[in-house]
Symmetry: C2
Subunit: 409 residues, 2 copies
Amino acid sequence: MFFKRNKPKILFIILDGLGDRPIEELDNQTPLEAAQTPNLDLMISKGMGGLIEPVYKGDFPTSKDAHLSLFGYDLDKWKMGRGVFEVIGIGMKMRAGDVALRGDLASVDDKMIIKDRRSGRIRKTQPLLKAIQGIEIEGVKFLIGAGVGHRMGIVMRGQHLSENISDNDKHNINVVPDRVKPLDDASESAFTARILNKFLEQAHNILKDHPLNRKRIKKGKMPANYTLVRTAGMIKPIPSFWEKWQLRACCIAGAGLYKGIGKALGMDLIKVKGATGNFDTDIKAKIKAARKSLKKYNFCFLHIKATDDFSHDGNYEGKRSFIEKFDKELKPIINLKKTITVVTGDHCTPCVLKQHSTDSIPVLLYGNGQDKVDRFSERDCQTGRIGKIKSINFMTGVVEIARQIAGYS
Amino acid sequence: MFFKRNKPKILFIILDGLGDRPIEELDNQTPLEAAQTPNLDLMISKGMGGLIEPVYKGDFPTSKDAHLSLFGYDLDKWKMGRGVFEVIGIGMKMRAGDVALRGDLASVDDKMIIKDRRSGRIRKTQPLLKAIQGIEIEGVKFLIGAGVGHRMGIVMRGQHLSENISDNDKHNINVVPDRVKPLDDASESAFTARILNKFLEQAHNILKDHPLNRKRIKKGKMPANYTLVRTAGMIKPIPSFWEKWQLRACCIAGAGLYKGIGKALGMDLIKVKGATGNFDTDIKAKIKAARKSLKKYNFCFLHIKATDDFSHDGNYEGKRSFIEKFDKELKPIINLKKTITVVTGDHCTPCVLKQHSTDSIPVLLYGNGQDKVDRFSERDCQTGRIGKIKSINFMTGVVEIARQIAGYS
């Protein structure tokens, strides 16, 4: 080659739903402020702090949109239903023309009223999914993939399908689920909705009499006899991370959606034993794998989910202690040479709200450049040198700064 | 901003169809070898040479594909019918769902046999185009834009349109033009073809009795009474040049297609008086504008069309002397500081073939790096430091090299 290889090294750590609001019980501190974080504080005191303004299309940021925007993808241009990332993330393959949906095994009673949206948090679903695998209706084949617990991926494969269909999940119990409806007047949307409704009926008839469900009922457990579907999406061309940034990228994540985002952007998935996407995830192993990955890759996206889960439960104590647990494992990162490390969230999930918010997200960048911030917190980051930056513009700056220390000139 | 602005400066000059093959009458030299090119030779002797392997999807490279690939766009991923670039290039606006076509005003006789594909190279078409402007058929509106001479852009606007339709142009005279046909079994394609055929009939009925055509016939000129259409395309998301390379880009071109390519990639079009896209184009003015543009932009795409036109006519003498004319205007480029200048072709158009070929394309890169090549020619470029590089990979190297001299580190 007549040109040098791109050499920047970037470790990009996203603690899902990291940012928060002051909590009375924590002396009006946020979980991040209340946490003892000597390593994060060391990194920001030798590096720079700032606030990222999250992107959002509806009332608040979603994880999918937030991640794509942080990676520099304009959401107005690169639209893809969340279903695509969900099914890719659990290892299913998609072809052009397929429609992907997130599915959940749920429990309905005889009157088709939803009694539990997660079938009593069922764990063993393989026999049930196998029973509804490969159903074909009017030339459309239904492919099913197992997610964690009650979760599944559904791929509709056939001609003339459309992603413009509604969910049947009302996100509520003691209601009859919606019928799937077309969201525009194209014949494809009406066709897709009609076929999907047929499938849901057929699947219900198979599942309700399945031996595993009879056994569950006998044991007093909720049967997994209905399928809730949502966030239909078709796969579309999107610039890969390499194509966009000329950086070889990998992804370390436990939860399906984040693996799916990495994969859709052409990142290599690195499997880490013990990376569960839960509070019990093996942080040490993930950090070790991330450090090692940078020998081969220019960019490592490391995703940690638990901070968001604690926030949705309003569990600020759990969030604080998880952040401390995370901080303890950062030593190997601090020693990385000629590497930019970013620690931030995709959006804030304040424990008082128990849901995502549009608050600005604290960020630290370590490895090149310095300011006077010496504590990683929502408040301290306000005065950092990064300033207040829109999420869509952030990656340009990170890549720029990484190139500066990568031996250019 | 917490990061420095991107500072690389790149002038990217494409001489369309530049590369050629040895010609007996030129002592077995190519037009580029036979030409006296002191400035190009100076640039390559202080810079580097190489060969670019062109990309092609059919039998030979097309200008559209060749340009997109040189700009780093993977053609397998970013597919868009040429019609889109043609209509955007002449200043028409497109919306999602529109179908764009290149159109040509042609002459048919009473039996609908094509007698001239360019209506005797008609120049004044405005009254004719106005007469068929805005026709609406079954909810589909036809918008017409004037191109150079007999050329026009057609935008079909309505619901449920498809780009998967054939041309009616047989690229031949003394034949009845084809009917437009759907290219797949989707109902949209059949609908679009049917509506377009209706339009062509309706337009013919309007044009054949138009006063301007009566006048032309009286004067012994070919009437412009039929419309040949080709290369239907729908607009789709494609990463802008900024999004892909983080470089502010502009485009200086005379011919519509190349303006369209620049515009579709989000480049600002710079109008230059005398830039005709023909052999009489004002090279000096274009070079001057390009030099000036780099004060504001990081990347300037400068397109010169005439080399390709001469090649299609087999006019190697014209091509040689045009290259010499171009070379004479390069002084202002040689003096540019901290700038990478690239001179190459999009593909080769050997005069002996009178059409595009798959031959490798000579390239020179001036401004950073040096090798022993001291003459810009197909033969000399074989031994250059750039080596033989696939067109899709070339821009990565150029941007890399430009960043090196832009003050990083």
